[in-house]
């Protein structure tokens, strides 16, 4: 049985070319990038090349890129390190109800340290409406953090507009772009953001590496303290192979982006239409068109998400229900609830996120298998008709 991976928003396989680029840095060019000897200098050159590759993908300068251990750490640095270092600028943060836990839990943590958090609601399509932000801004708002695309429902947020509103009010703007970098065009200058988080493993790069873009205006400080790596902005021995992989992944993403995005948009729309047509009592979550290419989130009434996943898995189809990070939990997704989806439907949600290797045949297969699975589970369900 051919397996079909449709969980690219959770993580992606490392691209073969990315892996090849990383290989020499494990056993041959293994030096510490801070060392002055030749091993160290080779390592450091490779890291600087990767910094250029990542910067190029998002329209930044290399010196604006701080390599971190992933998107989560980048979010922590943007929010916690920024707020703790800028107490004098204000103690108020604005974020949205559909952010990743990497943002929300930083805000919760800051709230326990005496900061004030405003969590903006979203409309039923998952959009943070600019007017909502305007109303929430205060003279003491130091930071606004709104994600570029939501990881569960795929809705794209109007970041350029939101950032402009925040700047008018004198606040710094951060966006968690973990789900968009490499998938749709992301340009920090066009978006007008001050801080941006990205993660390599969402764009066919390795796990355990990401970056924080930070412009000069912000003067971001370190979150992980120690040695002087990353220009004093992120301590810890430089993860040379990981960063090299991130760089290569960024380069490849830049080259392939237009073709891949067009293909995935098409596959996604076909899958959405097919599911809504073939399976009654099904609704699409998130925005119908302003969404991540290839990302599909649907809710089926009267059935539960995990049992759908397990049955799909027995057909070799891998998907997720809500965010993979929280799939150990039994709480319905905070994102679906924020969109106003009833608790029971939130429990019956399914996320299918396609990637560069998915095909039309994969979509056909899901459209063949899923209706049967939902029928079987509904026959078992005490709910509904």
């Amino acid at each position: 049985m051919k397996s079909i991976y449709m969980d690219h928003s959770a993580t992606t396989p490392v691209d073969k070319q990315v892996f090849e680029a990383m290989v020499p840095y494990f056993t041959e060019i293994y030096g510490n990038a801070a060392s002055v000897h030749s091993q160290g200098r080779q390592a450091s050159r490779a890291v600087e090349l990767a910094r250029e590759q990542v910067a190029a993908l998002i329209g930044a300068s290399p010196e604006e890129i701080i390599f971190t251990s992933g998107g989560t750490e980048a979010d922590n640095q943007a929010i916690i390190a920024y707020m703790l270092a800028n107490r004098s600028k204000g103690r108020h943060i604005i974020t949205s109800a559909i952010e990743h836990h990497a943002v929300l839990h930083c805000c919760d943590w800051l709230a326990r340290q005496g900061f004030e958090i405003t969590v903006l609601p979203v409309n039923p399509l998952g959009v943070v409406e600019p007017a909502t932000l305007s109303k929430a801004l205060r003279p003491d708002t130091a930071l606004v953090s709104i994600m570029h695309a939501n990881n569960e429902v795929g809705t794209l947020e109007p970041i350029a507009e939101l950032a402009a509103i925040a700047h008018e009010a004198g606040a710094v703007f951060h966006t968690d772009a973990v789900q968009t970098v490499g998938k749709i065009p992301v340009d920090v200058r066009e978006l007008g953001v001050d801080l941006l988080s990205a993660s390599a493993h969402k764009l066919y790069g390795p796990k355990g590496v990401g970056c924080l873009y930070s412009n000069k205006k912000v003067g971001i400080t370190g979150f992980v303290h120690g040695g002087g790596q990353e220009n004093g902005k992120r301590a810890g021995t430089t993860n040379v192979p990981g960063i090299v992989g991130f760089g290569k992944a960024a380069e490849l993403a830049g080259q392939n982006l237009p073709v891949r995005a067009a293909k995935l948009t098409e596959l996604g729309q076909r899958l959405i239409k097919g599911l809504l047509k073939e399976i009654p009592h099904t609704r699409l979550n998130g925005h119908p068109t302003e969404r991540l290419p290839g990302s599909v989130s649907v809710s089926f009434d009267y059935v539960e998400g995990e049992s759908i996943l397990l049955m799909l898995d027995s057909y070799g189809i891998m998907a997720s229900s809500g965010s993979a990070c929280t799939s150990g939990s039994t709480d319905p997704s905070h994102v679906l609830l924020a969109l106003g989806i009833p608790v029971e439907s939130a429990h019956g949600s399914l996320r299918l996120t396609m990637g560069k290797d998915n095909t039309d045949a994969d979509v056909d297969r899901v459209l063949e298998v899923l209706p049967t699975i939902i029928k079987k589970l509904r026959a078992m369900s005490p709910l509904g008709h």
């Binding site: 049992s307 039994t330 319905p332 608790v343 078992m380 005490p382 709910l383």
Partner: protein, 122 residues
């Protein structure tokens, strides 16, 4: 995550369905927590002669429902009342810790069905 037994009962659940003229019906859980189980009993001379279930819930919820119906069938009501959520989980070779409370309601549903039957007898 799940034992082979759990997966077997999830993929091939035993005794799914309803009993139109059930002697006892038990319903536990609620849709907000994510698990609802309904158990139907046919009882003859204090013995469970037929049992069916309907469940909304995760893999663990479906597997425990299926397992409890197998364990209860043919038992007297007093014997069936001695089945616990714990013994159902053990019969499935255990459940992941995070699934122990929320989905492990099958024995409760069985007990609720027996109570419903005894209520009606009064």
């Amino acid at each position: 995550m799940y034992s082979e037994k759990v997966m077997d009962h999830f993929e091939n659940p035993r005794n799914v369905g309803e009993i139109a003229d059930a002697d006892g019906v038990g319903l536990v859980g609620n849709p907000t927590c994510g698990d609802i189980m309904k158990i139907y009993l046919k009882i003859d001379n204090d013995v469970i002669t037929d049992i069916k279930f309907k469940t909304f819930g995760c893999g663990a919820a479906i597997a425990t429902s299926s397992m409890v119906t197998e364990m209860a069938k043919g038992k007297t009501l007093d014997e069936a009342l001695r089945l616990s959520n714990q013994s159902v989980a053990e019969a499935l070779d255990g459940l992941p810790p995070q699934k122990m409370h929320c989905s492990n309601l099958a024995a409760d549903a069985l007990h609720a069905a027996i109570d419903n039957y005894r209520e009606k007898q009064k």
